[in-house]
């Protein structure tokens, strides 16, 4: 089990994001009389720290770089974070997560200036009753929010899976699961921070890893190009696809693209060499 399950699951047999407690946030947050909600600050702390690390590395000071990154990781470990998960697991969340409001992705807004403003463009989704208050923060929810039924949410998830987006679930420290997102490298900040900058604590690998059934794989290549983690390649020697399970995050995008059912999942925690690789 990953660190998220250790701290967030109510029993050890349930993965944290399928624990109903993650969806049972209070209907109303009561504030002290006269007290208003805190205005959201454009957060510069995290990015500022990362900038310092990158600048130090650029100047040849790898010691300072490594110290900052390890401090950031230590701090991130005290909070929940994001976890990658395959489509099937996402769909299970759609059955529990009501209310679900589809919205623009803030990462893609910042990295690419995307202005997603309708359901066919929204790639992110906020969960929980707090979403009903979205209109109070029109800048944060720029482009609007569309509330979806479980079936509509599943269709939306399948749509982004076909497009090749990695699914992830986010727990940002509140008392409930905050959202799910569909994004890709290099525009997704959690993926990016982990792969390029060694910020391993903010994004946890999925509960599953993918394997290829070499009897079934005919090397058609339909899965190639779907992997965002450099785990999947066409192996010329065997003339089939191959997956590096140590690089695999378990997003399952290769599995959903395979026309021959030649890719299968195994539980990370049941594989001795991967049980501690999160």
């Amino acid at each position: 089990m990953c660190r998220m399950c250790d701290t967030l699951s109510s029993d050890k047999d349930t993965v944290w994001y399928k624990d109903p407690r993650q969806y049972s946030n209070r209907l109303y947050k009561l504030r002290e009389p006269g007290k208003r909600a805190q205005e959201v600050q454009a957060s510069a702390g995290f990015q500022g720290r990362l900038q310092q690390a990158i600048d130090a590395k650029s100047q040849g000071d790898t010691g300072t770089h490594d110290t900052i990154i390890s401090e950031m990781n230590k701090r991130a470990l005290m909070h929940p974070g994001c976890q990658v998960l395959p489509l099937e697991e996402m769909m299970a969340i759609a059955d529990m997560g009501t209310p679900m409001g589809a919205m623009k992705c803030i990462c893609r807004e910042t990295t690419r200036g995307c202005e997603e403003c309708s359901l066919s463009e929204y790639t992110c989704m906020g969960l929980g009753t707090g979403m009903y208050k979205w209109e109070r923060w029109p800048e944060r929810y720029k482009g609007g929010v569309e509330f979806l039924s479980p079936n509509e949410a599943k269709e939306w998830m399948e749509h982004w899976d076909r497009k090749g987006m990695v699914h992830m679930v986010m727990q940002e420290g509140g008392d409930f699961l905050g959202g799910i997102c569909n994004c890709d490298y290099p525009d997704c900040m959690p993926i990016r921070n982990r792969i390029d900058n060694g910020l391993t604590a903010g994004l946890v690998k999925g509960e599953f890893v993918c394997f290829i059934d070499f009897e079934k794989c005919n090397g058609c290549g339909d899965c190639l190009g779907r992997c965002n983690f450099n785990a999947l390649k066409y192996e010329t020697t065997t003339e089939k696809a191959n997956i590096d399970q140590f690089a695999c995050f378990g997003c399952g995008l290769c599995e959903t693209a395979c026309p021959r059912d030649a890719i299968f999942y195994r539980e990370r925690s049941k594989l001795p060499g991967l049980a501690n690789v999160w």
Binding site: Q51, I54, K57
Partner: protein, 89 residues
């Protein structure tokens, strides 16, 4: 003269006043080095992307800048300068 490892991207924020409306550099960069952020987040208020200063362009990941200069070339107001800085001794 020894240089730093990664290119530096200087942004002239006076020239680049409405980056969220323009966003040309953000979309042309192969490795998504740049980012744009709202400078204010106010309750019940949406920022106007055409108003100068409501968004700010910044360099987030200079470790992934190859120095290809595509952003410099595409910038309509000549606000970007990409170069490899000399190492301060």
């Amino acid at each position: 003269m020894a240089t730093e490892l990664f290119p530096q991207i200087d942004i002239d924020h006076d020239k680049c006043a409405t980056p969220f409306a323009c966003k040309k550099c953000l979309q042309v960069c192969p490795t998504a080095v740049l980012s744009v952020h709202a400078t204010k987040m106010v309750r019940m208020q949406e920022n106007d992307k055409n108003e100068a200063g409501t968004y700010k362009l910044s360099v987030t990941f200079r470790d992934k800048c190859s120095g290809c200069n595509l952003c410099m070339d595409v910038c309509p107001v000549d606000a970007l300068n990409v170069y490899l800085p000399e190492l301060a001794s």
